[in-house]
Symmetry: C2
């Protein structure tokens, strides 16, 4: 079974992200707008109970994290993903690092906190869409006070297994 | 903002339900397969904090609930909804009643625990589909050990606000 760990931003941010995702992100119907803290990993239904305990302990030792979104970015040339760039204090990276090292200590790339709004585009599509979005004036603030452990169904969609409050017993 | 309270059954049950929902349920992409404990209700982001506290207290006083699914049913003539019928001990109804009376004491109809697999069908479609599904041999058992508080986004899809473990501090 595949699991992942994310933050769902406020409804306002999710609604804004979805207004773009519906056109540009084929994963639109599979998962709500989210900031990934730990990419998909394999675990059994038995293993996940211990993993959930670990996540609980990690989450409890963090406080809520303030995030700001002021910009639309792109991962090109690495890949044709367009995203809401998330500015956040160091705590978010610390949280992400602890969550990742709790499982495998393996971080494949630098952490660029983001909320994907477009992906799986051809180079031409990406140029067009990013060209028209990159100067968009976006301005959101939010406080993330919880993280979510999700699992993937056979159709590719994600269901929440459990939420963990940041900094709360 | 619209909130609701549901149980997500095991992945196995969700995958089975989705194999039917993809054809018969226009809400397929809006929410994973679920058993509704409290229908959509309005609350503000401030109010929901108190409501979440109430749900936490109620959930803590219940243990995990065993459910069985042996049958596909229909709400016709009330409406053209086809569902997986959920057999459950009295605890599930008690839990549902406590959750509902915690807010408004208002229960519009008898509780028939179910997981919707088809809806918004014409009478003819409903007859066809239910006619072919009603004798299906279904056989699932599951233990629900958590409930989920969700909120609805502007596009009609649902995001999890928080999970509550049944019977756990």
């Amino acid at each position: 079974m595949k699991f992942g760990i994310v933050i769902f931003p406020s409804k306002k941010i999710q609604d804004y992200a979805n207004s773009l995702r519906r056109r540009y992100d084929p994963h639109y119907a599979l998962i709500p707008p989210h900031l990934t803290l730990k990419d998909a990993f394999e675990a059994t239904e038995e293993e996940i109970k211990d993993i959930a305990e670990k996540i609980y302990t990690i989450a409890r030792n963090f406080g809520p994290v303030d995030i700001k979104i002021n910009k639309i970015g792109s991962f090109k040339p690495t890949n044709n993903v367009i995203y809401l760039k998330v500015d956040s204090p160091e705590e978010l990276e610390k949280l992400r690092n602890e969550l990742n090292s709790a499982f495998d200590g393996n971080q494949e790339y630098n952490f660029v906190p983001h909320i994907t709004i477009g992906q799986k585009m051809s180079d031409d599509e990406h140029s067009d869409v990013y060209g028209s979005l990159r100067m968009t004036n976006v301005n959101f603030e939010d406080t993330a006070d919880r993280i979510h452990l999700l699992y993937q169904l056979e159709n590719g969609s994600w269901t929440v297994y459990e939420t963990f409050r940041l900094g709360k017993e």
